[in-house]
């Protein structure tokens, strides 16, 4: 995006700097966890072995993976705590909560794609696509945090639970990791980079701003709300 259009186009604030920092932290831990995790799952691939050898062996890979896992857990806990406090104290709107409209939007949008509706759905602050991604990844990460700790401390876990929990946790952890990886690699990368609506890249999470034309197209309901109320009264954006 060249500078000229940025100045010309009216921009709307979408994310606070804290959200940008949070996103960057997730990018880093995600990349580290994927590299060290999937290379363990697909250890027979050349790329996996290359990663393992360049990180100084499988013991190092596991150590890094666990360390990154702890960081990731802290990020998720912080995120959930901040969101909960924000919503409870009324500073945030529960805009990520899945509503009935999201399900009807899915059907509506698919009908639109197939030419059975005249217009796409009117998105709120978060569209059903974004909610799916958010909750898909959040539940995936929560499952992986849980199973990751089970795999880390098998002898503690088996004091209270049957031994079969360990291989079950392993199967869950690796498969869920693949699910999260696929959601990011297919859905998120498409929607944030390759989608013709945002190509070459949706920069809003990095800059904190989104163009008014995109707001009009993707989040018209939110834009309406914003224009009805004076800006000062707007709740801090999550």
């Amino acid at each position: 995006m060249d500078v000229g259009t940025v100045i010309q186009e009216e921009r709307v604030k979408r994310f606070s700097p804290a959200r940008s920092v949070e996103h960057l932290a997730h990018v880093v831990t995600f990349v580290v966890l994927v590299c060290t995790g999937l290379s363990q799952r697909f250890y027979s691939l050349d790329i996996s072995q290359w990663i393992i050898l360049h990180l100084g062996g499988i013991d190092n890979v596991r150590l890094i993976h666990r360390f990154a896992g702890v960081i990731c857990s802290l990020e998720i806990i912080t995120h959930m705590a901040v969101a909960a406090i924000g919503i409870v104290y009324g500073k945030w709107q529960p805009s990520m909560v899945i509503t009935k409209k999201d399900f009807t939007d899915v059907v509506h949008n698919i009908r639109y794609y197939l030419g059975m509706e005249n217009s796409p759905t009117r998105g709120g602050r978060y569209t059903y696509k974004q909610k799916f991604e958010y909750w898909g990844i959040l539940t995936g990460l929560l499952l992986m945090i849980l199973t990751g700790f089970i795999l880390w401390f098998p002898s503690v876990v088996t004091m209270f639970l049957p031994g079969e929990i360990i291989p079950a946790a392993k199967v869950l952890h690796t498969n869920e990791a693949l699910v999260v990886f696929l959601i990011i690699a297919i859905w998120h990368v498409y929607n944030a980079i390759f989608s013709p609506e945002v190509f070459p890249m949706d920069t809003s999470i990095f800059t904190g701003y989104i163009s008014k034309s995109r707001m009009l197209r993707e989040h018209p309901d939110e834009l309406d709300e914003m224009e009805e109320k004076p800006l000062e009264d707007m709740p801090a954006s999550p």
Binding site: Q40, Y43, Q49, I52, L53, G56, G57, I58, D59, I110, Y112, Y113, L114, G115, P154, S155, T158, M159, L161, P162, G163, E164, I165, I166, P167, A168, K170, V171, L172, N175, E176, L178, V179, L182, I183, I186, W187, Y190, S195, P196, E197
Partner: protein, 482 residues
């Protein structure tokens, strides 16, 4: 005795016959003494027999031509047969052929003194043995009337026959330590050995019908160690392998009891070692008796010794025959799954016994197996010591491997938690269940694992298909709208 009278009769008959032939018989033997000619008039004829009390006999025949060619050709017969002459032919009695030969040999010693004889090693050995009552029979090696230096007798068709002239008898090697080693070769075991086509000097380098070098060894063990070096001239590949072995390491560190070729293979009676698998185990038993006993009670040893099962591993199958490595090293431990999978991943071998070949894959795809693989992979690339990983032997035992079915199964299971605790400190009794005992998850075995796997097997393709479809529809709509 009736028989002797008969012999005398025959002898007289020949005497009279040969008197008639005396002229032509002596014609070519101008150097022979007159007395010798007289004796030969009878003894040049075949058919004269001397019979002994045990009914053995020798022919009293003298080949005039060979005698004439011998070093003793100028002797008269009486010089060696002092009691006999043209007019004296005493009757003598001998118990056996051996006694006769022993007595005859004493004649030689009149001229060939002990002092003269002791200048050669073989004679020294023989003379030393006389102290213990073993008589030396000179004629055995040198012949009698056709007497010659052994190497010049020329009557040996091959080297083996030549060497056996002495080594077929009681020959002993003496060592400085006072030990002795029998140099007697059992010709039948030599001929039955794999080396039956070889000549003695092929192994006993430096020895021949021309040479018999004197060598001195401090101990009998020194001689064995030195002799084993002979094997490498042909078996160089095996020799180099043994140089990598723990046995060779022990030897080079000064443990002279560490085994060398001869200790396992023997010397003259070498046979194909692989023919009888029980023997392989027995060879190791000589030094490793304790382990042998444990092995004999294991599921493998039991099948070998009691059922003569040739499928089960013997010592050399895991430890190899020559490049025997220290089994306590990490690198040996890391190869244990390979050793077991040689049979346990081979349906042709274990299928017969109703054993699953999935045991190797299930191990290798689990945490320990994967880690082991990666450790082995990174060993070459990273100079970093790996941690010991649980391998087959950790749960199943090493030499004491017992059956995992039947009454022994509970023992295997009971020991499992103790083994886990060695690495996983404080592992509770539930802990071993986290290993699915080589079973693939199913509705009956580990249903939880099976269920989770099944859910994802369906969910992941559906998810990917759904997302890709949405993306494609989105692009399609975008293109259409433009």
């Amino acid at each position: 005795m009736k028989k002797e009278k008969y012999i005398m009769l025959v002898a007289l008959l020949f005497l009279s016959v040969s008197l008639l032939m005396a002229g032509p018989a002596g014609a070519g033997n101008t150097d022979l003494s007159d007395t010798a000619k007289a004796c030969l008039s009878c003894h040049a004829q075949h058919g004269l027999m001397v019979t002994f009390e045990n009914n053995e006999f020798v022919e009293a025949y003298v080949d005039a031509g060979k005698f004439n060619a011998s070093v003793h050709n100028s002797f008269s017969c009486s010089q060696c047969h002092p009691d006999f002459s043209a007019d004296k032919h005493p009757q003598r009695k001998f118990r056996s052929k051996l006694q006769y030969h022993e007595k005859s040999a004493l004649v030689c010693r009149r001229c060939h003194t002990d002092r003269q004889l002791r200048t050669s090693s073989i004679h020294t050995t023989l003379l030393n043995e006389e102290k213990s009552g073993t008589a030396t029979v000179c004629t055995n090696c040198h012949g009698s009337h056709a007497i010659a230096q052994v190497k010049k007798t020329g009557k040996y068709s091959d080297e083996e026959e030549y060497c056996m002239k002495c080594h077929g008898y009681t020959v002993k090697m003496a060592f400085r330590s006072g030990e002795a080693l029998s140099g007697t070769i059992n010709i039948s075991s030599l001929q039955a050995s794999v080396h039956n086509k070889l000549s003695c000097s092929d192994c006993h380098y430096g020895f021949s019908s021309e040479e018999h070098p004197k060598r001195h060894f401090a101990t009998r063990r020194d001689y064995t160690l030195a002799s084993s070096e002979n094997c490498r001239r042909c078996h160089f590949d095996k020799y180099t392998k043994t140089m990598e072995s723990i046995h060779h390491t022990m030897l080079s560190q000064g443990n002279l009891e560490a085994p060398v070729c001869i200790d396992c293979h023997g010397s003259h009676g070498i046979s194909h070692i692989s023919k009888e698998r029980v023997l392989i185990a027995k060879r190791c038993q000589r030094c490793h008796a304790g382990i042998y006993d444990i092995y004999a009670k294991s599921v493998h040893g039991n099948a070998l010794f009691n059922e003569n099962n040739q499928d089960v591993p013997v010592c050399a199958d895991c430890h190899t025959a020559h490049a025997i490595e220290d089994p306590r090293t990490l690198s040996y431990r890391e190869r244990v799954p390979d050793m077991c999978s040689n049979c346990h991943a081979n349906k042709a071998i274990v299928g017969k016994y109703g054993l699953s070949t999935a045991v190797v894959d299930t191990y290798l795809s689990d945490f320990h197996g994967v880690t082991l693989k990666l450790y082995r992979l990174q060993k070459g690339a990273l100079n970093k010591p790996a941690k010991p990983m649980a391998v087959c032997t950790d749960c199943h035992g090493i030499h004491n491997i017992s059956s995992t079915v039947g009454p022994d199964a509970t023992v295997v299971k009971a020991n499992l938690v103790k083994r886990c605790q060695k690495c996983h400190a404080g592992a509770p009794k539930n802990f071993p269940d986290s290993w699915l005992s080589h079973y693939k998850p199913s509705l009956t075995r580990a249903p939880l694992v099976f269920f989770v796997n099944l859910v994802y097997k369906i969910f992941i393709p559906v998810l990917v298909a759904g997302l890709v479809l949405q993306i494609m529809l989105h692009i399609w709509r975008y293109v259409v709208n433009r």
